[in-house]
């Protein structure tokens, strides 16, 4: 039994077996690449598709409406690789067996570094490197972990950098370039077949990894939501206790949550600012030698762990109001929390001298914070004085950290 894919060839529908579909797609992608500079590309592609469709139709009978992978390969062999002017082959030497050039018309195939999503654990950097050097991806992963430990975490920055910079391999040609394989129609077909076989073999592994990841995700959610769920249950009991009373309860809980959340946010921001400017949270010096940037990351993490269940509780209230005034509750919450936020800011600005000072010299303070942060990075990385490449790396790391934080908040 085989999965069947329905395709459209120049207006004709065909049922293909999955591996056959892969071969055909590889062939057409290759043709696209060959013809990319050809002004008549669309027309030639349509002609080729029509020719393939005609050949495919020969294999169909009233009670056979699926093309097997082998039949597709025969069709493609009959079509021959798409060659343009410079590399038009002489065709057959004997008539029956067409001569297919063994050398790629483009000379030695270019080898490039790509990220390969297939089989990736994070982004595909390791799979890409493994393909580039033709080594096992596990070796690359172990190497990365070892390097991360040896460099005291700095290697993570390299990984993130590669994640952002190295392109993804999307087309068949890019996949071939990633592995440095010569790109030739016949070989593409062979590779597609090989990959499919490997894919089948590795299914067990993939399933294993998927389960593993699901498990991790589940644990994380459980941990983070542990008291969120408790709160949710209590809220649920409270708000559904009695029809009208329940709504009233929810309406009363909303302002409580709004005020609490706004205060928490202010407190968190203030803690970060105070930590970054004075090196201590409201005068409380964090013991040991935890660098500034690590403490800030910890603060971010703590905040997201606390804020998550609160958000959950809020949603629980929204949905326990039978839905019909969901928007009203949401608006009510937003207005309240924004109001509290403004109120707190105003109060702090007028009554707390430190806050007042901070905003009076905001630009200067901001640069102090930033410099402190950079310095803490530098100390972690090396005890040498500043060098400029580090600055670039650090801003990259800061961006990555904030992205991670935003992702966590979601």
């Amino acid at each position: 039994m085989n999965t069947v894919i329905i395709i459209n060839l120049n207006g004709n529908a065909f049922h293909l077996e999955e591996p056959g579909f892969q071969s055909l797609r590889a062939y057409l992608e290759r043709a696209q690449v060959q013809l990319r500079d050809n002004p008549d590309k669309t027309e030639i592609m349509a002609d080729l598709e029509q020719a393939i469709a005609d050949k495919c139709a020969r294999y169909l009978r009233p009670h056979k409406n699926v093309l097997t992978a082998a039949e597709i390969d025969d069709v493609l062999k009959e079509m021959g690789p798409v060659q343009t002017d410079g590399a038009t082959p002489a065709g057959a030497t004997g008539g029956e067996q067409p001569h297919v050039g063994t050398k790629s018309s483009a000379g030695p195939a270019p080898k490039r570094l790509y990220q390969i999503r297939e089989g990736a654990m994070l982004s595909g950097v390791c799979t890409g490197i493994a393909a580039y050097f033709s080594i096992d991806v596990t070796i690359v992963r172990i190497l990365f972990v070892v390097l991360t430990v040896l460099t005291g975490g700095l290697w993570t920055l390299v990984y993130i950098g590669m994640m952002l910079v190295v392109p993804f391999a999307n087309t068949g040609e890019e996949h071939a370039a990633a592995a440095g394989a010569p790109f030739n129609a016949q070989e593409v077909i062979d590779q597609a077949k090989k990959h499919y076989a490997e894919f089948k073999d590795s299914k067990e592994w993939r399933r294993h990894w998927r389960q593993q990841r699901r498990e991790w995700r589940r644990r994380w959610h459980e941990g983070a939501y542990w008291w969120g769920h408790n709160l949710q249950r209590n809220v649920h009991q409270f708000s559904t206790g009695a029809g009208y009373g329940g709504h009233l309860g929810a309406a009363l809980l909303i302002p409580f949550l709004a005020v609490f959340n706004a205060l928490l946010f202010c407190l968190w921001i203030a803690a970060i600012v105070s930590l970054a400017t004075t090196g201590a949270i409201f005068g409380w010096v964090i013991g040991g030698s935890i660098p500034l940037w690590v403490s800030i990351l910890i603060l971010m993490f703590i905040y997201s762990v606390i804020a998550r269940p609160l958000r959950h509780a809020r949603r629980a209230i929204y949905f326990n109001t039978n839905g019909y005034n969901y928007l009203w509750f949401a608006a009510w919450y937003e207005i309240l929390s924004t109001g509290v936020l403004i109120l707190v800011c105003w109060f702090a600005y007028t009554h707390v001298p430190q806050v007042h000072d901070f905003f009076q010299h905001f630009v200067q303070n901001w640069s102090t914070m930033w410099n402190n942060l950079i310095d803490s990075f530098r100390h972690t990385v090396s005890h040498k004085p500043s060098d400029s490449w580090l600055d670039a790396k650090l801003s990259g790391a800061a961006a990555a950290a904030s992205t991670a934080f935003l992702a966590l908040r979601r």
Partner: protein, 107 residues
């Protein structure tokens, strides 16, 4: 007939003129051309033929028109343009000249 691989470039270069010659007789479509070439030393495949024909059409040696067929979709029937005809004549002259040159050199 087993032809030497060394002749491949020659066949490659001649293919375009052979197509001109095939089209000169009558309007033909691609499957016809393939069938005719199949019997010769110049058998070729769609993957090669379609890009070549599109190039020849761009250079205005050939042109095509759509014609309904009894079986299947409408087909592109190719025919020679005036420019194509003179190109073919030129080629035939040149081929004859090459022949005499080769034969005379051997003497």
């Amino acid at each position: 007939m087993p032809a030497d691989q060394k002749f491949n470039p020659i066949r490659k270069g001649l293919l375009e003129f052979l197509i001109l010659q095939i089209i000169s007789a009558d309007k033909v479509y691609v499957a016809d051309m393939m069938k005719r070439l199949q019997e010769t030393d110049f058998a070729t495949q769609e993957g090669t033929l379609y890009p070549l024909l599109s190039k020849m059409r761009r250079e205005e040696f050939v042109d095509y028109e759509w014609q309904e067929s009894d079986s299947g979709p409408p087909r592109k029937y190719y025919k020679l343009t005036a420019k194509g005809k003179s190109q073919l004549a030129e080629f035939k002259d040149y081929w004859a000249y090459l022949n005499t040159t080769i034969n005379q050199l051997g003497r």
